[in-house]
């Protein structure tokens, strides 16, 4: 097809990381293009309308909350780099969350003292050990090197008590682990800081104003955004990137491509010799079924007071790919109304996240798929009623997404939400000029995704200039 003027940088994927990278590059006058196969931007964090009602995907919480003016923390650093005023996000802090394993509850919030007090009250013999560990973690930077010890081993060494370890680990696993039951130490440190030392907030209005702010800032700076423009092939010669070929055959040229599609997914767009360096067996497997249920009155009025509940019904924290399509043994319940300063809603919202087995969902016939979605949702509300008021008679609308939905809309194999188990912070690939950002580059959460885009744009596209 037609050749075109080369771009300085082409970005694959219009999610949080790709848009953040695009802003950095457009800010310094690069000719930059963001491509996405889907018609909605946002990737794993997006929103859509159904029958006049708005549904959010992703964002339960913006982790890494710090107050305006806090220095040197991820949230304030990325906002500065993207030149987005802190106040424009209109962040509301969580009311309070809890981790529940078996019959033990551990409350936590944006004030670390709450968690410290909970540990001291319920595990008095571990209080001193917990304080020592918390101080040690607080002193660590966000980017600790890979160590021998996993998160579970570290917590167990310090605290001993299995129940306490599970209670602390459950939210961390659900909010960012690409591996079952445990997570590598560097990711653990990031998540510990993001969830417990910093905390949860929500932009007023949810993910939409944040995404729209990123998109409009990018476009105002002169960045180009093409939706429904999937990349079929990454063009390269002699180990150097030359551009991309789109699904419709259009060739676009650039000596630099930064992809948020995932390591395996990105390399699979290259020639066989390159693709073979990281085959589909390296793709992540941690995926979820998530349902959003709208209620005939605000959930807090019905007695839902928690912001987020991480639960595991049995005696241990379960975080693993289930043998069946979906598991109700553990999960996350989020009530977005329980953040400060949210718009008053006439309808309530409950979101429920459960662990899923991608293969089951991919193999279902359309009929089986719809039935399984329905069942996951209805049994999900029954499960949620174990941790809060029963809202099954208040339902006015609902929608459920599955690993199949995630794979279709994000291109991530297996619908893997936290990417492949092996993170590579350098963002480099076997090809010169091809870089990764997003989940497989190693940062986590919404703030982490934006930080990833900013960091990779700085390192690979601005510094060489």
């Amino acid at each position: 097809m037609t050749a075109s003027t080369p771009y300085d940088t082409i970005l694959i994927g219009a999610g949080m990381s790709g848009l953040a990278a695009g802003i950095r590059l457009a800010q310094f006058d690069q000719r930059v293009l963001v491509l996405d196969r889907h018609y909605l931007w946002g990737g794993l964090n997006s929103y859509y309308k159904r029958e006049g009602r708005r549904f959010d995907v992703g964002l339960h919480a913006l982790t890494n909350f710090v107050p305006k003016g806090t220095r040197g923390r991820p949230l304030t650093r990325i906002l500065r780099q993207l030149r987005i005023p802190y106040d424009s996000l209109r962040l509301g802090e969580q009311h309070g969350s809890r981790s529940v394993v078996g019959d033990t509850d551990l409350h936590f919030g944006n004030d670390f003292e709450l968690l410290r007090g909970e540990v001291a009250r319920q595990f008095p013999t571990r209080a001193t050990a917990f304080d020592g560990m918390a101080r040690e973690l607080e002193a660590l930077p966000f980017d600790v090197p890979e160590g021998q010890e996993s998160a579970r081993a570290y917590l167990t060494r310090h605290l001993g008590e299995a129940r306490l370890v599970d209670l602390l680990l459950l939210p961390i696993l659900f909010y960012g682990s690409p591996t079952p039951s445990d997570v590598d130490f560097p990711s653990f440190v990031v998540l510990w800081k993001s969830l417990y030392e910093e905390g949860f907030a929500r932009p007023r209005g949810g993910i939409r104003p944040l995404l729209d702010a990123l998109r409009s800032r990018y476009l105002e700076l002169g960045g180009e955004l093409r939706m429904k423009a999937g990349v079929a092939e990454i063009l390269h010669e002699d180990g150097r990137v030359q551009g991309v070929r789109l699904d419709d055959g259009t060739e676009l040229h650039s000596e630099r491509v930064i992809s948020s599609a995932g390591r395996v997914e990105t390399l699979s767009l290259c020639e066989e010799t390159v693709a073979a360096t990281c085959g589909p067996e390296h793709a992540g497997r941690m995926t979820f079924v998530e349902s959003t249920t709208l209620l005939d009155q605000p959930a807090p009025d019905l007695g839902w007071t928690d912001t987020i509940v991480f639960f595991s019904q049995g005696e241990r924290a379960v975080y693993e790919e289930p043998a069946e399509a979906v598991s109700h043994a553990s999960g996350v319940i989020c009530c977005p109304e329980n953040y400060a300063g949210q718009e008053p809603e006439t309808e309530g919202v409950l979101r429920l996240t459960l662990m899923a087995n991608a293969e089951h969902w991919m193999a279902m016939s359309d009929g089986e798929y719809l039935a399984a979605k329905e069942q996951a949702w209805s049994k999900g509300l029954e499960t949620a009623a174990l941790y809060g008021p029963d809202v099954r008679k208040q339902v006015v609308a609902r929608d459920t997404f599955t690993p199949r939905t995630i794979e279709r809309f994000t291109g991530h194999l297996n619908g893997a939400v936290y990417g492949c188990p092996h993170k590579d912070k350098s963002g480099t690939t076997p090809l010169e000029g091809l870089f990764l950002c997003g989940t497989d580059q190693g940062y986590l959460g919404i703030v982490g995704a934006m930080l990833s885009g900013v960091a990779m744009a700085n390192r690979h596209a601005l510094l060489p200039a």
Partner: protein
């Protein structure tokens, strides 16, 4: 540009990239990092803005010359001799 104008140009850039920092009281000789919150990402932005506004290329090895406002003025002076102070973009 005079030394004073270069100092003003750098202060303008700092105001653009870190609008919440108080730049009025910055002195010439102490490292900028000790006076306000600037990390390596921010120094990259100072360099990128210098390039964008004045076409000056600062190689990575020379970033250390920009540690103080006096250092900025001394280092940038030959590069900015023929330039006029730009207003904030």
């Amino acid at each position: 540009m005079t030394h004073e104008e270069i100092v003003q140009a750098v202060k303008d850039i700092i105001h653009t990239i870190a609008p919440d920092e108080e730049i009025g009281g910055l002195n010439l000789t102490d490292p900028l990092r000790d006076q306000i919150e600037l990390d390596s990402m921010d120094f990259l932005d100072i360099v990128m803005e210098l390039r964008k506004r004045y076409g000056v290329q600062v190689p990575e090895d020379d970033y250390k010359e920009l540690a103080t406002l006096q250092g900025c003025a001394d280092y940038l002076s030959p590069h900015l001799a023929g330039h006029k102070l730009a207003t904030s973009a």
